[in-house]
């Protein structure tokens, strides 16, 4: 299959998956018993007149599928119970989440890849054993636990870093001081995600590289005169890059849970914290908006990584 056909097929698959997800989200809300008004006031000591109930039920009614699809495609999820538009609230929180996810994802991939490749090249040495042991131990610890431990050590115990938020409230900082303040607030949530994602990048890289060292193409490379360093860096490492990248596509949906929890632990004002606020207020439109945005974000990330992998795959276009 040519590269363009593969890209077209993957794009078609992405669009279909997106439509199915949005439709499932709509169907999910549609089949739930009760409605938003019941959910909000069922346990409250308020008696509303039939007219008020009817008006509220119309306001918060679930639209038909066509309207829901159009609204989703135009990023219009209606009005939050907090007052503002759902889209506006999400747009304000999204950059924080994107920055956190992108910086931690990229750093853990680059460092995990470099360490995994170095460890595989030193197979069986004390360095390799230590790195593998540390990665194995870190791999089991969930984001929630890592985040809380870092919070206790660096924010509470040592007092080196701020415990919550994205910037100092009423700090009135400008220029480099404001940047340093933002980075110091970002550091602990970033470190939490970095430490929880690093082991899988390391272990996958090391495992693929070890298998690649025994592959026939490495023997061919050696026969053609490539030295050990070139064989490791150019031939084996390129092969290991693909699974490291595709782990994001496969595990992106699961990583989202960690991201939401880390933002909640550090009160970082991204989508996770906004979701906590929305949940506390039973703000159904905002919850649905955040859930749809997150799901679409995971899909788009997987799609982009897939396209990147097609570019990097040495066998792309050569398969029968």
């Amino acid at each position: 299959m040519s590269e363009w056909r593969r890209v077209a097929a993957r794009t078609g698959q992405f669009v279909v998956t997106l439509l199915v997800l949005v439709t499932l989200g709509w169907g999910f809300v549609h089949v739930l018993p009760g409605d938003a008004v019941v959910a909000m006031y069922a346990s409250a000591d308020i008696v509303m007149s039939d007219e008020v109930m009817r008006t509220m039920a119309e306001t918060f009614a679930v639209p038909d599928l066509g309207t829901h699809l159009v609204r989703t495609l135009t990023l219009d999820w209606g009005t939050s119970f907090q007052g503002g538009s759902v889209t506006g609230l999400i747009a304000a929180a999204l950059p924080h989440t994107l920055m956190l996810a992108a910086l931690s994802g990229m750093a853990s991939t680059v460092v995990g890849f470099a360490l995994g490749a170095a460890s595989a090249a030193r197979r069986g040495t004390p360095t390799d054993r230590w790195l593998t042991t540390i990665a194995g131990a870190l791999h089991g610890i969930p984001e929630m636990a890592t985040g809380i431990l870092l919070l206790l050590i660096f924010a509470l115990g040592l007092g080196w870093l701020p415990a919550a938020g994205a910037s100092t409230a009423f700090g009135d900082l400008t220029g480099s001081a404001a940047l340093a303040d933002r980075l110091s607030h970002l550091f602990l949530p970033w470190l939490t995600l970095f430490l929880t994602q690093l082991p899988s990048a390391f272990l996958v890289t090391r495992a693929v590289m070890l298998k690649a060292f025994d592959a026939p193409f490495m023997l061919t490379a050696a026969a053609k005169g490539a030295n050990a360093r070139r064989r490791a860096r150019v031939h084996a490492a390129r092969l290991a890059l693909l699974p490291v990248l595709t782990r994001f596509a496969v595990r992106g949906a699961l990583m989202l849970t960690g991201l939401i929890v880390v933002e909640a632990v550090f009160s970082y004002p991204g989508l996770g914290s906004l979701l906590m606020e929305a949940l506390a207020m039973r703000d159904a439109p905002l919850v649905m908006g955040i859930c749809t945005t997150s799901a679409v974000g995971v899909l788009v990330a997987g799609f982009v990584i897939d396209l990147l992998c097609m570019k990097l795959d040495p066998d792309a276009g050569r398969a029968p």
Binding site: T17, V29, M144, I148, L152, V261, V287
Partner: protein, 303 residues
């Protein structure tokens, strides 16, 4: 020539590390139930004690702000966590093996549709439907377990499907068909033994994810309020993080318990993955595979 094929997935003795991890996990799962059965600790909902009392002989980990015993809450959280994870793993195993084996029996065009359907399920972040459902309904734990399992089966089903397809493409599978073997015989004598080594891998993977998801839901305040959860304990204790004495005895125990449960499950996923690949039938059939050192593969490290 085909070598002797063990009918059970485990051909060799597990390592001491694997046995220790299995023992530790078993203890974490069963001890809280023993505590409940023998009544060694007070009721986790009993609020008759002094709030925020320090560690003492009566309350080894002190009490919470509501006046409940922290150790009793920890035991209740572990019970809830393990019960939820075991239920999710049971549902998930049924779904993954059912879907994976059914996919292997489908004709080509339907198999492609099956693959796309599993892609869609894989793309759904499992936490989101649970959050959306929790925000509106606060469903019981078993309903959450069923929903979570229905969102976690897909990657495992793909693994099972690939293993079953590899078996279905083998020479002896074709020979059995030539000799007139029916679908039930083929399933019982070929496909099921081929995918059996994956039971612990898939079960433990789903168990581990369920433990984390349950803790996350509890932390976000979306778990059943009548059930004590590890995540709920953390969220509650985090409000007092500025009191060193409190976080040491109230916040740290659930953090350690959750990490231990997930870490030990991860070790067992890796070990059972290695055995499924290198210790079971696969090694006798795949001449290209060389035996690896324990922990070397990393294939199953994704958990």
């Amino acid at each position: 020539m085909r070598k002797t094929v063990p009918m059970m997935p485990f051909g060799e003795r597990p390592s001491m590390l694997t046995l220790t991890a299995a023992g530790g996990l078993l203890l974490l799962v069963t001890l809280p139930w023993a505590v409940e059965v023998f009544g060694w600790l007070p009721d986790p909902f009993d609020i008759d004690f002094e709030p925020l009392e320090g560690a003492s002989r009566a309350h080894w980990l002190g009490t919470t702000d509501a006046g409940t015993d922290v150790l009793a809450e920890l035991a209740a959280g572990l019970r809830a966590s393990s019960a939820f994870a075991l239920l999710t793993a049971a549902f998930g195993l049924l779904m993954a093996f059912g879907a994976g084996l059914a996919g292997a029996m489908l004709p080509g065009c339907l198999r492609s549709l099956w693959a796309r359907a599993t892609d869609v399920v894989t793309a759904v972040p499992p936490i989101l439907p649970l959050i959306a459902l929790g925000a509106v309904l606060m469903p019981p734990a078993w309903a959450n377990a069923l929903l979570l399992a229905s969102l976690l089966w897909a990657p495992s089903a793909k693994l099972i499907n690939a293993t079953a397809l590899a078996e279905a493409g083998s020479g002896w599978f074709a020979a059995s068909k030539r000799f007139g073997a029916g679908p039930w015989y083929l399933m019982r004598r070929h496909l099921l033994p081929a995918v059996a080594p994956l039971v612990p891998v898939v079960g433990l993977s789903i168990f581990r994810r369920a433990v984390f998801t349950e803790a996350a839901l509890g932390f976000l305040g979306l778990a059943d309020p009548t059930v004590r959860t590890l995540g709920g304990m953390m969220s509650q204790a985090l409000q007092y993080y500025y009191l060193p004495e409190v976080w040491l005895r109230w916040l740290l125990p659930p953090v350690v318990a959750l990490s231990l449960m997930m870490g030990l499950a991860m070790m067992l996923v890796t070990a059972s993955g290695e055995r499924a690949t290198f210790g079971g039938r696969c090694v006798t059939w795949s001449k290209g595979l060389s035996k690896g050192e324990p922990g070397e593969s990393g294939t199953f490290n994704e958990g």
